[in-house]
């Protein structure tokens, strides 16, 4: 019996010929990641282990992004713990305010994750790196601490579900819609403990930015990781950025899957996930009349250049509705800079949007756009749980960037076709 791509990567890093789903294995890690919420806790635990130094100062990556530039004194203290640790340990990959980005946009962009890598991060959306053909998964702070010391961690080998996307997507349908549709179909525990492998002609035609969006939300279906088999497009993206050698794995023809699901993307419309769960999806044309107070475009799900271009296309020469606050937050400084060079920031600002420095802020109700009681937001982010963006009685609707931009213009959930 052959292996899936996820099994092959895990076998390689476990130093084994093969692994089978359900087995507990110990694996070398190529990189470990923490942020300003999870790293301080990990640093505290790390100091109890008694090793003194991290296993490799090039491979312990720390990104302050959740509450920075700091929102209050407490968060400033947390960020300081991380900054001082990065200095004391002489970490190569600590990214300071002004040079940082949202971690899951930043690491691939900086070539810190590549095909065949095993990466763990104390952040659930670490699964994003599956888009470059890595095995990447979220863990907690204590797991991070142990891996910072040992350079290894343990996993239960997941079964894989294979998702095959066929056909050509209609206009305005992108990676976000495919993944929302998928989660709507299988549910928020549809892939619990499993790997989601995204394949098929529609994935082959999907941009890297679209693939990042899909892998990003694998955890929203309960998955351990999402993965896109590397192809020429992946290698084109990785070449010239990769800071370490990488290795491309492909599934064996006779690999065993838990199940296989096929979708015809030509039948998928732009999707909206209604409150309070990412699987509560319906086509935007069936959303009905939903007035909104705020729109946020950005995050590790949809804060990349292609996302901003899409929003810019809809917002160009149009204005944000008088009842709506539009907040745009690019994923990294490099994306921010490119958006400026391309005139996108001018488009957003002219339309009446607030444009923020890269930060997680609004996505998790941290700061920079917290919702009041009863307020509704359309967001290109990945979670719409109760209280996710502020007051427990506020609501979040998840969409792609074009739908978010159209909704900002019309003041209600809208299809981009209604404004263009």
């Amino acid at each position: 019996m052959g292996m899936t791509i996820t099994e092959k990567i895990l076998a390689r890093r476990a130093g084994r010929d093969r692994v089978t789903p359900g087995e507990l294995i110990s694996c070398r890690v190529d990189a470990v990641l923490g942020n300003d919420i999870t790293a301080p806790l990990a640093i505290r635990e790390f100091s109890k282990i008694g090793v003194g130094r991290v296993f490799d100062p090039d491979r312990v990556i720390l990104v302050p992004d959740h509450f920075v530039p700091n929102k209050d004194i407490k968060s400033a203290e947390q960020a300081k713990i991380m900054r001082e640790f990065a200095r004391a340990q002489n970490l190569t990959n600590y990214f300071e305010v002004g040079r940082m980005g949202i971690e899951h946009c930043l690491l691939p962009e900086q070539g810190l994750v590549g095909p065949g890598d095993v990466v763990i991060g104390a952040d659930s959306h670490t699964c994003t790196y599956g888009a470059v053909g890595a095995f990447a998964t979220g863990v907690g702070s204590t797991d991070l601490a142990a891996a910072m010391a040992l350079g290894e961690t343990w996993f239960k080998v997941p079964e894989t579900i294979r998702f095959v996307y066929e056909g050509e997507p209609p206009e305005w349908v992108g990676g976000k819609d495919l993944i929302l549709y998928t989660i709507g179909d299988i549910g928020v525990e549809g892939a619990l403990y499993q790997a989601m492998e995204f394949t098929g002609p529609a994935i082959a035609n999907l941009s890297m930015d679209g693939r990042f969006t899909m892998a990003n939300m694998a955890v929203e279906a309960g998955a351990k990781n999402g993965i896109v088999p590397p192809d020429e497009r992946t290698l084109e993206y990785v070449r010239g950025r990769a800071q370490r050698p990488y290795e491309v794995f492909q599934r064996d023809p006779d690999a065993a899957y838990a199940r296989s699901v096929t979708y015809d993307v030509s039948k998928i419309e732009p999707q909206v996930a209604f409150p309070h769960s990412p699987d509560n999806t319906r086509p935007v044309t069936e959303a009905g009349h939903v007035d909104i107070d705020q729109v946020v475009i950005g995050s590790c799900t949809n804060g990349r250049l292609e996302d901003l271009r899409l929003a810019g296309r809809v917002l160009e020469r149009r204005r944000v509705h008088r009842n709506v606050r539009l907040i745009v937050f690019p994923g990294t400084q490099a994306i921010y800079r490119r958006a400026m060079d391309e005139g996108l920031l001018a488009t957003f600002i002219t339309a009446g949007a607030a444009v923020s420095t890269p930060t997680c802020g609004p996505c998790l109700g941290g700061y920079m756009g917290v919702l009041a009681r009863g307020e509704r937001a359309v967001a290109t982010t990945n979670r719409n749980f109760v209280g996710r963006m502020g007051h427990p009685e506020s609501e979040v609707y998840l969409t792609n960037p074009a739908v978010a931009a159209a909704s900002a213009i019309l003041g209600r959930i809208a299809h981009p076709g209604e404004v263009i």
């Binding site: 507990l24 919420i37 999870t38 301080p40 806790l41 505290r44 635990e45 109890k48 282990i49 008694g50 090793v51 959740h66 509450f67 929102k71 209050d72 407490k74 968060s75 947390q78 991060g121 104390a122 952040d123 659930s124 670490t126 979220g138 863990v139 907690g140 702070s141 204590t142 797991d143 601490a145 142990a146 010391a149 040992l150 343990w154 928020v188 525990e189 619990l192 403990y193 309960g222 351990k224 769960s277 998790l364 109700g365 941290g366 917290v370 979670r383 749980f385 109760v386 209280g387 996710r388 502020g390 427990p392």
Partner: protein, 166 residues
Amino acid sequence: MLLEGNSWKFGDNVDTDVIIPARYLNTSDPAELARHCMEDADPEFPGKVRAGDIIVGGNNFGCGSSREHAPLAIKGAGVSCVIARTFARIFYRNAFNIGLPILECPAAVAGIKTGDRVTVDAAAGRIKNLTTGAEFEAKPIPPFMQEIIAAGGLIEHVRGKVKNSE
């Protein structure tokens, strides 16, 4: 060790934003986190929960973010054990790593109501509802997880490993 307390029942997909909202994540002090534990599901929970109490959830308990602050808040609130039908995987790891006993047991979830007095033998996976007299058998904890618990959490486990290799 036998755990005993009153139970608090919640539904399916209790997510980490409900367990501890992000607005309180500017600290990692369990006592401070405990003051806001589950407050978006039941604002009075932090005031009502007593040491030893047991949380009973449905499917996919702890889904969402990787924040270890979630099990820390629960442990900080004095909760001695969480029983659910299934757990989200990062929460599952985190709970063991920080020494919060959790058990998967669909029958117990069906057979326990809020307010029932419950005892749990976590190592043996035995759950007893003292109010109704019903007894339940949880899914066994994998041996590797038992090692972590026996060591007193992942950090202690790793410490032992590092020492032995010196």
